[in-house]
C-alpha cells in the first residue's frame, strides 16, 4: 500500500457525525454582498497600515487578522465611513485603515472591507506581506518577491507585473509601528 493510500484509509474514518443542515436562521446571519469594484484593474492605495494578513472568513464576523506592532493579531473591525474601516486590536487600541481603488477610467471608488475580503477569498490577496521562517515575502496577485533585507531599513520597494501591467509597490514603516503601502503603475512612492 502506498503512503497516499494509507493516509486515505486513515482519514476516511473521520466523518461528520450528522450531515450538514443549512438552516435558514444561520443563513440570515450574513448580509447579501454588494457588487464589487473591479480591483483587478485598479490601482490600490491603502493608508495607515498594511493589511498584512488576509481578511479571512472571519471578516464576515467583523474580525481581521493583521500584522501590527510586530505581531499578527486578531482585530475587530467596523466600517465607519465609505472606504474607512476602524479596527481595534488585542491591546484595545483603535486604528484606521482605508483607501480608494481607481478603475481604468480613473474613477475613484472607496475600498470596503467586503471588497478586501472577497478579493482575499477569490484567488489570493491583492497585496500581502508575510514572514515565513525568518524570510519576509511580498505577494501581489500571487507573484512573490523576497524582501527580507529591506525590512530593517523601513522602506520596501518591489516592482512586479500583473496581466502585463508593471506595478511599483512601496511599503514605508516598521514592524513596531505598522506599514503604509502604496501601489502605483507610475513609480515608487516618494
Amino acid at each position: 500500500m502506498t503512503n497516499r493510500e494509507k493516509i486515505h484509509r486513515a482519514f476516511d474514518a473521520l466523518q461528520l457525525a450528522e450531515p450538514i443542515q443549512l438552516e435558514e436562521k444561520r443563513m440570515n446571519r450574513f448580509m447579501p454582498k454588494r457588487s464589487l469594484v473591479a480591483l483587478c484593474a485598479a490601482i490600490l492605495v491603502l493608508g495607515s497600515l498594511s493589511i498584512a494578513y488576509a481578511a479571512d472568513l472571519g471578516g464576515f464576523r467583523e474580525t481581521l487578522t493583521v500584522w501590527f506592532g510586530g505581531k499578527k493579531q486578531e482585530a475587530s473591525v467596523q466600517e465607519i465611513a465609505p472606504g474607512v474601516v476602524e479596527w481595534t486590536g488585542e491591546d484595545g487600541e483603535s486604528h484606521l485603515v482605508g483607501g480608494v481603488a481607481y478603475d481604468n477610467d480613473g474613477n475613484a471608488q472607496p475600498v470596503t472591507m467586503e471588497e478586501i475580503i472577497d478579493s482575499e477569498l477569490s484567488g489570493g490577496p491583492v497585496l500581502d506581506f508575510f514572514e515565513d521562517e525568518g524570510t519576509v515575502f511580498l505577494e501581489f496577485y500571487e507573484n512573490y518577491v523576497e524582501v527580507t533585507d529591506q525590512v530593517a531599513s523601513g522602506r520596501i520597494e518591489a516592482h512586479l507585473e500583473h496581466d502585463g501591467v508593471p506595478y511599483y509597490i512601496t511599503f514605508v514603516g516598521s514592524r513596531e509601528n505598522g506599514w503604509h503601502s502604496t501601489v502605483s503603475t507610475e513609480g515608487f512612492a516618494p
Binding site: 503512503n3 461528520l16 472568513l57
Partner: protein, 161 residues
C-alpha cells in the same frame, strides 16, 4: 460554473470537515467551519472555472477559517492526540497510527501533507491554497515526510520524489 448547494453539500461536506479538522483538531469546531463555508458559498455570486476550481476555493476557505477560529480555541481546549483519536472508528490499528502521526505534525507541515496526500493536490495548488511560494510548500512537505518516516518507520515508504 456554479454547483447547486443540494449536490455540493453531500459531495464536499466530509472533505471540508476533514480539512478543517486537520487544522484545528476539534470535531465540533470543524463541523461549524464546514457549515460556515457552505453558507459563504451560498451567499457568494462567484462563478468558478471548473469543479476543481470550486473545490480548491472551498478548501482554502475551510482552512483559512479553521486557522482563524482554532488559533484561539486551541489555546483553551488542548486535548491530547490520543483523546482526539479515541472516538474515531478506525478500521485497523495501522490506520490509527497513520492518523496520529499526521495529526502530530506541526501545523506548517501537517496541512501541506494532508492536502498533498489526502486531497491529491499538486504543489502548485497547495501553494495557491495556502498562499505560500511553491518552494516553501516543497520544503514543508519534505520536512513532514521526514517526520513521518521517523515516526512510522517501515510503515512509511520512500515512494515520493
Amino acid at each position: 460554473m456554479r454547483e447547486p448547494i443540494e449536490t455540493l453539500v453531500p459531495r464536499m461536506q466530509n472533505r471540508l470537515y476533514r480539512a478543517a479538522f486537520s487544522v484545528c483538531r476539534d470535531r465540533q469546531e470543524a463541523e461549524n467551519i464546514t457549515q460556515d463555508v457552505f453558507l459563504l458559498y451560498h451567499h457568494s455570486a462567484k462563478e468558478f472555472e471548473s469543479r476543481d476550481h470550486l473545490d480548491a476555493w472551498l478548501l482554502r476557505a475551510a482552512i483559512n477559517r479553521a486557522k482563524d477560529v482554532c488559533r484561539s480555541f486551541w489555546r483553551r481546549n488542548r486535548q491530547s492526540l490520543e483523546e482526539i483519536a479515541d472516538p474515531i472508528p478506525f478500521e485497523t490499528r495501522e490506520d490509527r497510527g497513520v492518523f496520529l502521526a499526521v495529526m502530530g505534525l506541526k501545523e506548517k507541515q501537517r496541512i501541506p501533507i494532508y492536502l498533498f496526500y489526502y486531497e491529491d493536490r499538486s504543489i502548485q495548488d497547495i501553494a495557491r491554497v495556502l498562499r505560500l511560494p511553491e518552494n516553501t510548500v516543497k520544503s514543508r512537505l519534505r520536512r513532514g515526510r521526514m517526520e513521518l518516516k521517523t515516526i512510522l518507520q517501515e510503515d512509511w515508504r520512500d515512494d515520493e520524489p
